[in-house]
């Protein structure tokens, strides 16, 4: 089982290693834009909770960026592999379990999310942000990567075209990037909207990362909710991998 997880991960690692330079460079573009526009540009004149706006949004940017990277590095490739390249069949005819496949893919997606998050943390320091980075911070970050890598796996197994995959991105990920406490505190929103926002997993990532980074109390409940989402999506992924043979 562990060996099979490693095999699935190994393939992803080979591909990532071959283009690590390009990967890192391209992953720096959008965080730099966010940091310049919201941190330097807009943020100069805004104070949030007695701190600078830059310190406020860096955890939000990390949350949304790790979401995007973990999702896209599993979603599209797996969807293409299932529908167009048919390389998924190579795994389906191999004597490995669906669980090993799902865990291997999710770990590989999470690794990419983590690499890009480390880059943002480095960039944020360069822009003069003040953050508390500790083991809790990384736990919250890793959980967020797991949530969205496993959500991508589920989406890739359900969506039956590349276009549907793009629509999923538009209807699910894009709204979350803006609403889930990434750029603002959702407490002032209408009650129902606030309540809905608190159901979404990214909100808990933003809140947890921000609380930890600003030296606040670790929001255990948010971490538990993220863990719950990970288990839910991974379980669904395993079920879908079995169902694909019908």
């Amino acid at each position: 089982m562990l060996y099979d997880i490693w095999t699935v991960f190994w393939r992803e690692w080979l591909v990532l290693r071959r283009r690590i330079g390009r990967f890192i460079l391209s992953r720096m573009v959008s965080p730099v834009l966010y940091l310049v526009a919201f941190g330097w540009g807009l943020g100069r004149s805004i104070q949030v909770n007695q701190g600078s706006y830059l310190d406020f949004i860096v955890p939000g940017i990390i949350a949304l960026n790790s979401m995007n990277i973990s999702f896209t590095s599993v979603g599209s490739p797996l969807n293409m592999s299932r529908l167009y390249h048919k390389t998924l069949e190579e795994y389906l005819i191999a004597p490995i379990s669906s669980v090993a496949f799902v865990i291997g893919k999710v770990l590989a997606g999470a690794l990419r999310g983590l690499i890009s998050s480390v880059l943002i943390i480095a960039l944020a320091y360069a822009f003069g942000a003040h953050l508390v980075i500790n083991a809790w911070f990384f736990l919250a970050l890793v959980l967020n990567c797991f949530v969205f890598a496993s959500m991508a796996l589920v989406a890739a197994m359900i969506m039956n075209s590349h276009e549907d995959m793009a629509s999923f991105n538009t209807y699910v990920l894009v709204p979350m990037s803006f609403l889930c406490a990434t750029f603002f505190v959702p407490d002032h929103l209408p009650v129902v909207l606030n309540w809905m926002i608190h159901i979404l997993p990214l909100t808990h990532a933003s809140l947890a990362l921000r609380a930890i980074a600003t030296g606040g109390e670790v929001p255990i409940s948010s971490l538990v909710i993220m863990l719950g989402y990970t288990i839910l999506f991974m379980g669904s992924g395993v079920w879908l991998m079995k169902k694909v043979r019908e």
Binding site: D4, R11, R18, T87, E89, E90, I93, P95, E246
Partner: protein
Amino acid sequence: MIHIDGLVKKYGDRLVVDGLSLEIAKGEVFGLLGPNGAGKTTTIRMLTVLTKPTAGTIMIDGCDHGEQCIKAVIGVVPQHFNLDIELTAWENLELHGRLHHMPAEVRRQRIAELLEYVELSDRAHDMVQKFSGGMKRRLMIARALLHQPKVLFLDEPTVGLDPQVRRRLWELIRRLKGEGLTVLLTTHYIEEAESLCQRVAILEKGKLIALDTPAALCQRLGAYVVEWDEPDGFKTKFFAERVLAAEFAATLTTTTTLRQTNLEDAFVELTGRKVVG
């Protein structure tokens, strides 16, 4: 080696494979023929555990369908090129070896051997994306053979390849048979089945309509055929003996051909349409 009994596959109300029963012996090269949509690929997908049958049983080398042990004894070359284009030829094989739990040393040795066997050693470290169709197909065969399966499934192995490459692949398949491997292939190139297979099964609309050696299927119609043109279309007539065929041909006034019956004639007579590539 392969026992199929009462195999059925339904997608909703659509019956794709309808009560197929077959026995394939060890070391046999067996051809599955049929028009497009006859259920050949679905049958292969069920045999290779990619699709669950609706009903019926499959046994391969003593393994029941649904067991992991079946995966160890089969090698699969699907119809589409499903190599990982983000990896090199060697890495594709390496991934397969790891997925099949081959120890590192055995894996390395076997990969080198098989690349040699399919004449791709010099391209081992090139990205698969740059390979031609024939090279991809050969690499897929090497991949299917890597874990030393006892049965090889080839779904339309030579579709879209030029004649030279096709003949090279035929040579390869004959060599595999010589080494005692059981091969099940689907094709709608009739001459391919004729030149490679000891027995063929013809499927139509999911049903088995004929099962015999290519020669016996031709004999059924008559060993000779006369073909001629008429204003309302192309006509054929079968004869048991050449003399009778020649006598008949002499009575015709249009352009006439007299030749030996081939598997394509048998196929067309049985399925009632021309096969399209």
